[in-house]
C-alpha cells in the first residue's frame, strides 16, 4: 500500500472550502499544518490520502451504513439531510461541527435512540430502520454510549452505574465485582465507588459515564463530547482508552468541538457536519482502516476487564 502524505494538497482543499476548515480526512498524528482562514489561524493535523481503497473495501465489511438519511423532529425542518457514510469495523472517527450542526442527532441515530425520517441505515448487517422494537435491545447492547450530559442514574452509586450494562446483559453479580472495580480504578475513582453522581464533580461523572460505556466491550463506541469536562491529562488518557479499544476492534465515533483532540489518535477519520449536512469531499471516510497500521494497545492502557 502506498500511502502519500499530501500536506499541501490538504491545505489547498481546506483553503478551498467555503464555510469550514476541513471536512473529511484521514488524520496523521505526526504532521500538522497551520492555516489561515480569514482572521483565524488554526493548527490542524494533516490529512492523508491513500490509494487502493477499493482493495480494503473488498476485504472489510462495513459495520454501519447510512444512505441518504434524513432526520426531522416532528414537523420541523430536517436537522440532518442526505447523510451517507460507512463506518468500518475497528475504525476511529471524529465527528466535528459547530453547535447545532446535528452531531448529537447523528449520534442518536447511531446509538439507536432515534429512527430516521427517511433513508436507510444498516448496522451489523441489519436494516435498522425497519427493525422491530423487540429486537432493538440486542443491538443496543453492542453499542456503548457516552452521553453529552452523562445520564448517570442519580440514585445509583458510581459502582452500580458502571455495572448497569453488565446487569442489563444478565451478568451475574459475582462476575461483576472484578471488572467494575477495575474500571473504577482505571478511571481513578476506586475510592468513590459508593458515591452518588450528585456528589461527584463533572469530570468524575464523565469518567463514570465513560467507564459505563466501555465496560461491556461494545462493538461500536459512540461518545458525545467525552472529554468536555475533564482536564487535559485525563482527556488524553480517555482518548488513549478509546484508541486502545479501537485497536482491539471496537469502532469508535467521538463527537467533539476540540480540534486539538484530533491529533491525539492515529489514523482517525474525521466527519464534519455543517447545518445537518455531512461533507465528504475527499472520499476518505469511505475507505476502510488499514490493517497494517493497527497495533495492539500498549500495556497498561487498557484495564484487564476490557481485554
Amino acid at each position: 500500500m502506498r500511502q502519500k502524505s499530501v500536506e499541501n494538497r490538504s491545505v489547498d482543499w481546506l483553503h478551498g472550502a467555503s464555510d469550514h476548515f476541513f471536512d473529511l480526512c484521514r488524520i496523521r498524528a505526526d504532521a500538522y499544518s497551520t492555516i489561515q482562514y480569514g482572521a483565524k489561524s488554526v493548527t490542524i493535523p494533516v490529512c492523508q490520502m491513500w490509494d487502493g481503497g477499493d482493495q480494503y473495501r473488498a476485504r472489510m465489511q462495513e459495520i454501519v451504513t447510512f444512505d441518504n438519511v434524513g432526520l426531522r423532529y416532528g414537523t420541523g425542518n430536517e436537522v440532518l439531510s442526505d447523510i451517507s457514510f460507512r463506518l468500518f469495523p475497528g475504525s476511529f472517527y471524529f465527528l466535528t461541527g459547530a453547535s447545532g450542526a446535528g452531531k448529537t442527532s447523528l449520534l442518536k441515530l447511531l446509538y439507536l435512540a432515534q429512527r430516521p425520517s427517511r433513508g436507510v441505515i444498516h448496522m451489523f448487517d441489519t436494516d435498522i430502520v425497519t427493525l422491530t422494537r423487540d429486537r432493538l435491545p440486542g443491538f443496543r447492547r453492542r453499542i456503548g454510549v457516552v452521553f453529552q450530559d452523562f445520564r448517570l442514574v442519580p440514585h445509583l452509586s458510581a459502582f452500580d452505574n458502571i455495572a448497569l450494562p453488565l446487569r442489563v446483559a444478565g451478568v451475574v453479580e459475582k462476575d461483576l465485582e472484578g471488572p467494575v472495580s477495575e474500571m473504577l480504578d482505571w478511571v481513578g475513582l476506586k475510592d468513590r465507588a459508593n458515591a452518588r453522581p450528585a456528589t461527584l464533580s463533572g469530570g468524575e461523572q464523565q469518567r463514570v459515564a465513560i467507564a459505563r460505556a466501555v465496560i461491556g466491550r461494545p462493538e461500536i463506541l459512540v461518545a458525545d463530547e467525552p472529554t468536555g469536562n475533564v482536564d487535559p491529562e485525563m482527556a488524553i488518557r480517555l482518548l488513549k482508552l478509546f484508541e486502545a479499544l479501537n485497536r482491539l476492534g471496537t469502532t469508535v465515533v467521538v463527537a467533539t468541538h476540540d480540534v486539538h483532540l484530533l491529533s491525539q489518535v492515529r489514523d482517525a477519520h474525521m466527519m464534519r457536519l455543517n447545518r445537518g449536512a455531512l461533507s465528504d469531499p475527499t472520499g476518505a471516510l469511505r475507505n476502510p482502516p488499514r490493517p497494517s497500521d493497527r497495533e495492539m494497545p500498549e500495556a497498561g492502557i487498557l484495564p484487564e476487564a476490557l481485554k
Binding site: H155, L156, A163, P165, V168
Partner: protein, 298 residues
C-alpha cells in the same frame, strides 16, 4: 407474578423503592378492607340463602280454610288420608289447635282465640321432592275432591321476598367487589404511570443500554408488589377484626335468618385469598401498564 422475584438486589435498586412512604400501600389497604368486607358479606348472604333454601326446599303447609268447624274437621281428616297416600309426601304433621293459637297470639292476643273465630287447620308436609309449582299442583289436585277448601303453600313462597332481597344483596356485593377491583387497578395504573414519568430518564438510559421492556416492567412489578403486600397485610388484619366482631354480634342475636349467614371454613379460606388475588392483580396491572407505556417509545 411472572418473574417477580427474578430481579436481583442490585436490579431492584434501579427504581428507588419508596416503600410505605407513598399513598399506594394505604390505598391498597383500604381497598383490601372494603373488598374483604364485600366478599364476606356476599359469602354470608350466600350461606344464609343456601341454608334457608335447604331448610325450606321441600316444606309445604296445607291450610283447610273452611269456615264451618265441622266441615273443616271433616276436610282435615280427608286431607290427612289423601296426603298419607301420596308418594311425594315424606312426612306429615298436623298442627294442634294450641300450636296454631300460640303462633297467632302475637297478632291476635290470648290463647283462646279459637273460641271466637274459626282458625284454619294446618298440616305441615315434608316432601320427597322440591316444593316447586309442579309438586304444589299435584298436591292441590289430589286434595281438590276431598278437601275443596284446602290451600297449599310452599314455605319458600312465604320467604320469596326475603330470598329476592338476599339475592339482590349478593349481586350488590359482587358488583362492589368488581368496582373495588377496577378502582384498585386504576390506582395501580395511575401510580405506575406517575412512577414511569418520575423515572423516565433512568428507564431511557436502561433502554439505551439494551434493557428490554420486560426487564423494566419487572422492576415496577416488584415495587408495586411490595406496596400491595404491605397494604394487603394492613387491610386484611383490620377486615378480619371487623368480620370477627360482626360475627360475634350476629351469634348473640340468636335470630334464625342471621345465624344462617355464618361463614364456613371454605369462606374463611376464600377471604384469606383476597389479598393474594389483589397482589396478583396489582402485579399484572403494573406489568401491562409498563409494557403498554414503553411500546410508545423507541
Amino acid at each position: 407474578m411472572i418473574g417477580l422475584f427474578r430481579a436481583t438486589t442490585a436490579e431492584r435498586r434501579l427504581i428507588p423503592e419508596g416503600r410505605l412512604t407513598g399513598p399506594m400501600p394505604w390505598v391498597i389497604a383500604i381497598m383490601i378492607l372494603f373488598t374483604v368486607l364485600a366478599v364476606a358479606s356476599g359469602l354470608a348472604l350466600r350461606s344464609a340463602t343456601q341454608s334457608i333454601n335447604a331448610d325450606l326446599a321441600g316444606r309445604v303447609t296445607v291450610q283447610i280454610v273452611a269456615a264451618d268447624p265441622v266441615q273443616q274437621e271433616a276436610e282435615r281428616e280427608a286431607a290427612e288420608a289423601v296426603l298419607d297416600g301420596l308418594d311425594i309426601v315424606d312426612r306429615r304433621r298436623t298442627l294442634s289447635d294450641k300450636e296454631i293459637s300460640s303462633l297467632l297470639t302475637p297478632w291476635l292476643g290470648g290463647e283462646d282465640i279459637g273460641d271466637t273465630i274459626t282458625i284454619p287447620a294446618m298440616i305441615d308436609l315434608d316432601l320427597t321432592v322440591p316444593a316447586d309449582d309442579a309438586a304444589l299442583a299435584q298436591l292441590q289436585q289430589a286434595l281438590a275432591d276431598d278437601a275443596p277448601s284446602a290451600r297449599v303453600d310452599a314455605h319458600g313462597a312465604w320467604l320469596r321476598p326475603v330470598f329476592d332481597l338476599l339475592q339482590s344483596l349478593q349481586i350488590l356485593a359482587v358488583v362492589l367487589v368488581l368496582l373495588l377491583v377496577i378502582a384498585t387497578a386504576s390506582a395501580v395504573v395511575l401510580s405506575v404511570r406517575s412512577a414511569l414519568n418520575t423515572h423516565g430518564d433512568t428507564i431511557s438510559v436502561m433502554h439505551l443500554l439494551g434493557a428490554t421492556d420486560v426487564q423494566v416492567a419487572r422492576l415496577f412489578q416488584r415495587r408495586v408488589a411490595l406496596d400491595a403486600a404491605f397494604g394487603s397485610l394492613v387491610g386484611i388484619v383490620i377486615a378480619a377484626v371487623l368480620v370477627f366482631l360482626l360475627s360475634q354480634q350476629v351469634a348473640q342475636l340468636d335470630a334464625g335468618l342471621l345465624n344462617a349467614g355464618q361463614l364456613r371454613w371454605m369462606d374463611i379460606v376464600a377471604l384469606a385469598l383476597v389479598p393474594i388475588a389483589v397482589i396478583a392483580l396489582t402485579i399484572i396491572t403494573a406489568r401491562i401498564t409498563v409494557l403498554v407505556a414503553l411500546k410508545k417509545t423507541l
